[in-house]
């Protein structure tokens, strides 16, 4: 390579860069600021409820009643949080939520992968209709499922057990997981699978040694979503977890809502306790989430 060609290439690069920078300053400038402002506004709107909850969690009930929900707290009052924790044995509820959400997340991902392998890569006959069915199942409101599930659980001897909730949510989450993963795996590079098959790998081996490792970013995202979604579920756990010993975090937060009275400060304290684990979980895994929901390109 001659020095001339190097210089020419360098100047071409510079020209390209200048063009790009030039374009950014004039064309995209106001647009970017608008997007930034919109995002900031959205962030404030999202964070405001959290701030309000925190504010009221730290007030004494008398302070709340005389100064209203928007007033700043007069001194930090942690009794609400401590009392709530002891009153409902919050540690036990955290463990219940963890066991249920953790099991559901793992089981639902496994189920989704197996289903999607058959539908997306295996291309079984009538897969479109199977997917439509899964999609329809996703749109069913949980209220419609309550009675059938109640009688099934009772017949199986699983009413008022965490296992019932784990099974139900594994199926519900896997319905969505199958739908999504089947679409993702439908675009899975054929070349890789054909190469593996040529080398004599069985279907089972292709799934666990080729498809799963390559789809790992998608699977991780699914795992995290399933965990958080199941964590936040309220209605079905309310119906199925009758004993206080079995209850999850969102269900136990309902204990504070009386028939005619609500304890606003303690409700805020409990809400704060209820949000923290989900937020913590999200922050820990947000790197995985940002890696995106689709499989990377052929390596």
């Amino acid at each position: 390579m001659t020095s001339l060609s190097v210089r020419r290439a360098a100047s071409a690069r510079r020209a390209r860069r200048e063009r790009r920078e030039h374009g950014r300053v004039t064309g995209a400038g106001p647009g970017r600021w608008a997007v930034l402002a919109a995002m900031a506004l959205l962030a404030v709107a999202m964070l405001l409820p959290f701030a309000l909850v925190t504010l009221n969690a730290l007030k004494s009930p008398a302070d709340y009643s005389s100064n209203g929900p928007l007033g700043l707290p007069h001194g930090v009052h942690l009794d609400g949080i401590v009392q709530f924790w002891q009153r409902v044995d919050f540690g036990e509820k955290l463990l219940n939520s963890l066991v249920i959400s953790g099991s559901v997340a793992v089981l639902a991902v496994i189920l989704s992968v197996l289903n999607a392998y058959a539908l997306g890569i295996g291309r079984v006959r009538g897969r479109l209709w199977v997917l439509v069915l899964f999609l329809l199942a996703n749109t069913l409101p949980q209220e419609a499922l309550v009675y059938p599930l109640y009688y099934l659980a009772k017949a199986a001897g699983l009413y008022d057990s965490r296992l019932a909730v784990i099974i139900i949510f594994t199926v519900i989450q896997a319905a969505f997981g199958t739908y999504l993963l089947a679409a993702v795996l439908g675009g899975f590079p054929k070349a890789i699978i054909e190469a593996a098959a040529m080398d004599g790998a069985s279907r089972w081996r292709i799934l666990w040694w080729i498809v799963v490792p390559i789809s790992r970013p998608t699977l991780s995202v699914l795992l995290i979503f399933f965990f958080i979604w199941t964590w936040n579920e309220f209605f079905l756990p309310l119906i199925f977890l009758i004993s206080n010993d079995n209850q999850t975090v969102p269900v136990v937060l309902g204990v504070l809502q009386g028939e005619k009275m609500m304890d606003a400060t303690m409700s805020s304290a409990s809400a704060l306790l209820g949000i923290v684990p989900a937020v913590a979980f999200f922050l820990i895994f947000q790197r995985t989430l940002t890696r995106g929901i689709t499989v990377g390109a052929v390596k």
């Binding site: 009930p61 008398a62 709340y64 009643s65 005389s66 100064n67 209203g68 929900p69 009153r87 409902v88 066991v99 099991s103 793992v106 089981l107 496994i110 109640y150 009772k154 699983l158 009413y159 008022d160 057990s161 965490r162 296992l163 784990i166 089972w204 666990w208 040694w209 799963v212 490792p213 790992r216 309310l238 119906i239 009758i242 004993s243 206080n244 010993d245 079995n246 269900v251 136990v252 309902g254 204990v255 504070l256 809502q257 009386g258 028939e259 005619k260 009275m261 609500m262 304890d263 606003a264």
Partner: protein, 438 residues
């Protein structure tokens, strides 16, 4: 990931499942004698907070019960109101039913469950233990349900421990400042409200999005009503004309009060909680609401002195027995449940409930030491002496609460005339009447 991965995950899930199964399978031994012998557990569910009057009294009742039944452990589970409301029918139909629980009185709740055969008929125990003698007639109404699940007659399915009634809470300082005396007639009350409006103060705190507005309207209707009208409206003993003098006066006067500024025009969207906070913070000098606010008002009003009086001029007031103790049909320890109910009806526990700011059904007024609580209970006794409990306007038909809320909101907003709103009240009422064959 190798094929080992999912295998271990499955094993872990199975282990978790086994754990969950083991945890839920702890059932109580079948019933035997109450006095001595093998250890037993009485499972009790309620939804009152521990520091409420009921919470305080029942904690003591449990202590006394355990002292009297040394082999019995009481397992208390504090539930959320919503969970009990949504799941009671399912729970009581399963083997997970508690031995005794607190449940809402009324046709749509206790009445419905009794009709479905999920509650134990307590009639024999009631007469044997003399519970009926402790309860005044209008309190008994909500404890008895006929075969249609309609309250007022038939078998006993629950026992109320406490009562509630709607009264007027007022800010004594604000009354003094305007030179207003505690009114004894509706005219005096209206004059007092006028004084506040002239001084630029909206007098009554109202939560239009929930129960408070309809209760004010009902109190106004009751000012023109007699007991037979209440029996007709609530217990289906006779026809109710929604355009008769009672409801017409209630709805028209309520709309009038909004027009005159006694009730704020923007209160249609406020919740009961906003109403309470509005009164407690001193923004409004008057709040018309139930005795369930008493403990909170007593504990949280700091900036002024307050008091309460019965709605002026009325013989009938919104109010009823409190929630009921019910014994599920599938209870495994019915004998223990009866013993427990008996303890909660004793003078000692009832007095404790009164001293903690509740309205006991069978207390000894002389044993109530706190001045404020005395006022609360004396007012209640005055009211029951006149057989003055008129229940609540949303009771007669399923889903009627929402109809009442919507109607009150339309009157506050001026979206509909009182006559139109009364038509809306009449429709679901008549439909329900046709359904139950009344």
């Amino acid at each position: 990931m190798s094929s080992k991965g999912p295998g271990t995950a499955f094993a872990a899930a199975l282990a978790a499942a086994a754990l969950a199964l083991a945890a839920c399978g702890s059932s109580d031994p079948p019933g035997g004698g109450g006095g001595s012998g093998e250890p037993r557990t009485l499972t009790l569910w309620h939804y009152e907070s521990a520091d409420s009057a009921m919470g305080v009294a029942w904690t003591e009742a449990i202590r006394q019960f355990e002292a009297g039944h040394p082999n019995v452990k009481v397992k208390v589970e504090e539930k959320g109101f919503e969970q009990i409301q949504k799941t009671a029918g399912m729970v009581l139909g399963s083997d997970q039913a508690p031995d005794i629980m607190e449940y809402n009185k009324g046709n749509a709740t206790a009445g419905l469950l009794s009709k479905q055969g999920l509650l134990t008929d307590l009639t024999e125990q009631v007469t044997k233990r003399g519970w009926d003698k402790l309860l005044s007639p209008s309190l008994r109404t909500t404890a008895r349900y006929d075969e249609r699940g309609v309250m007022g007659s038939g078998n006993w399915y629950g026992i109320p421990n406490y009562a509630e009634y709607v009264m007027v809470y007022y800010n004594k300082d604000a009354f003094e400042k305007q030179g207003v005396k505690v009114p004894t007639t509706l005219d005096e009350f209206t004059a007092a409200l006028d004084t506040f409006v002239k001084a630029g103060i909206t007098p009554i705190a109202v939560g239009g999005a929930e129960y408070p507005a309809q209760q004010i309207m009902y109190q106004l209707a009751l000012s023109k009503a007699q007991r037979p009208w209440v029996d007709a409206f609530e217990l289906y003993k006779g026809r109710v004309d929604f355009h008769g003098p009672e409801w017409t006066y209630g709805a028209t006067t309520f709309a009038d009060w909004v027009k005159k500024g006694y009730i704020a025009k923007d209160s249609a969207s406020l919740k009961a909680e906003d109403m309470g906070v509005g009164f407690i913070s001193g923004k409004y000098p008057i709040m018309v609401s139930g005795s369930w606010w008493y403990g909170r008002v007593a504990g949280e009003v700091k900036n002024f002195t307050w008091g309460s009086f019965l709605w002026p001029g009325n013989r009938l007031h919104a109010g009823s027995s409190g929630n009921l103790w019910v014994v599920p049909e599938k209870s495994k320890n019915k004998d223990l449940a009866y013993d427990f109910i008996d303890i909660t009806m004793k003078k000692d526990i009832q007095n404790r409930l009164g001293n903690a700011g509740g309205v006991p059904v069978a207390a000894d007024p002389a044993a109530i030491t706190d001045e404020k609580n005395k006022e609360l209970i004396e007012n209640f006794n005055k009211l029951t002496a006149e057989d003055g409990l008129a229940y609540y306007p949303d009771w007669p038909a399923p889903g009627y609460y929402d109809v009442m809320v919507a109607g009150a909101q339309e009157l506050i907003n001026g979206a509909k005339t009182p006559s139109q709103v009364l038509d809306e009240f009449a429709r679901p009422y008549d439909e329900n009447l046709a359904d139950i064959g009344g």
